[in-house]
């Protein structure tokens, strides 16, 4: 078998007991959609960069994944996004880190790679660059999702519990807060 696209998608904070069959089905459908979008680009003679963009935009626009719309929350209650792209053909690369208003971070990472002499931009500078490139800027509220907000509250509760000085309260169930995105 010759594969042409491979993807991965993490749900971020996982409440183990809560992953219902229906929810799992939603994930599998969205991953299939991402694969099909990338595959269509390849079949239409587009580049691997365009195929990667097509797949990742599908997942960034879905609240299911910890990227774009479904991003988890920082301790300060913000959604802070990062993205990177690298083209094996010429080893060009683009990356952004620590942004709060960019709807599709992968698009901006590609613009950094193709329209700037830099590899990595961060924070406000990356957001200014995105605006200059005409890429979509959204109100940070766009990234708010209830279940991620609840995950943050539970993670904070857990943090209190882990704190030796904390009173001996114990959360009713544990969120396994994956250390990866």
């Amino acid at each position: 078998k010759k594969y042409v696209v491979v993807i991965h998608g993490g749900a971020g904070t996982i409440i183990r007991e809560k992953m219902s069959p229906e929810l799992e089905e939603e994930y599998l459908e969205k991953l299939t959609e991402a694969l099909q979008k990338a595959y269509a680009e390849i079949k239409n003679g587009k580049t691997s960069v365009e195929a990667v963009e097509a797949a990742i935009v599908v997942m960034e626009d879905s609240p299911l994944f910890n990227a774009g719309k479904g991003a988890v929350f920082t301790h300060d209650g913000k959604n802070e996004l990062d993205a990177a792209i690298m083209n094996g053909k010429d080893k060009k690369a683009g990356s952004i880190a620590g942004v709060h208003t960019i709807k599709n971070p992968i698009k901006v990472a590609i613009a950094v790679m193709e329209k700037s002499e830099h590899v990595m931009l961060s924070g406000n500078g990356a957001e200014q660059f995105a605006k200059l490139q005409g890429l979509e800027i959204v109100n940070p509220k766009y990234f708010w999702t209830e279940n991620r907000w609840k995950s943050l509250q539970k993670a904070k509760e857990l943090e209190k519990f882990k704190n030796p000085k904390a009173e001996n309260s114990k959360p009713d169930y544990f969120i396994i807060d994956q250390k990866f995105g």
Partner: protein
């Protein structure tokens, strides 16, 4: 975190990763996803996108290490990827990654549950699964 590696009709590879970071993270912490050579890398032989405990993927320069094992030691993509994930596990980290080489071979080693991954062949055959 989400990621994708693609191989186009011209034989060129590209790798991309996008993430919302880590729940409850502080101090502007950055993980491996945006770090070229750690969570994202592509050259003429292979493309890699990772999703792991970022600090360990940065310290082990995970994505570049896989490419280097292929480039200098002639390892196949599965061996190179698994060795790298095993090294990260030995350091105390966890997570997973996807890798696709220029011949259309893939590797998807994961050692953390809850990760989803999928792949499609040049004939349009789709595989999607969740790592339990």
């Amino acid at each position: 975190t989400v990621g994708c590696v693609a191989l186009d009709q011209f034989g060129n590879l590209a790798a991309g990763t996008s993430t919302g970071g880590m729940t409850n993270k502080k101090y502007g912490r950055i993980g491996d996803a945006p770090i070229i050579g750690a969570g994202t890398y592509a050259d003429e032989n292979v493309g890699i996108s990772a999703t792991g405990w970022g600090e360990f993927f940065i310290r082990s320069t995970a994505a570049r290490t896989i490419a280097a094992k292929i480039q200098y030691l002639n390892k196949d993509v599965k061996t190179a990827a698994q060795e790298t994930i095993d090294e990260i596990e030995k350091m105390g980290g966890d997570g997973g990654l996807i890798a696709l080489d220029k011949n259309g071979n893939i590797a998807m080693p994961f050692n953390t549950s809850g990760m989803y991954r999928g792949a499609i062949t040049e004939d349009g055959e789709i595989e999607v699964e969740i790592y339990k």
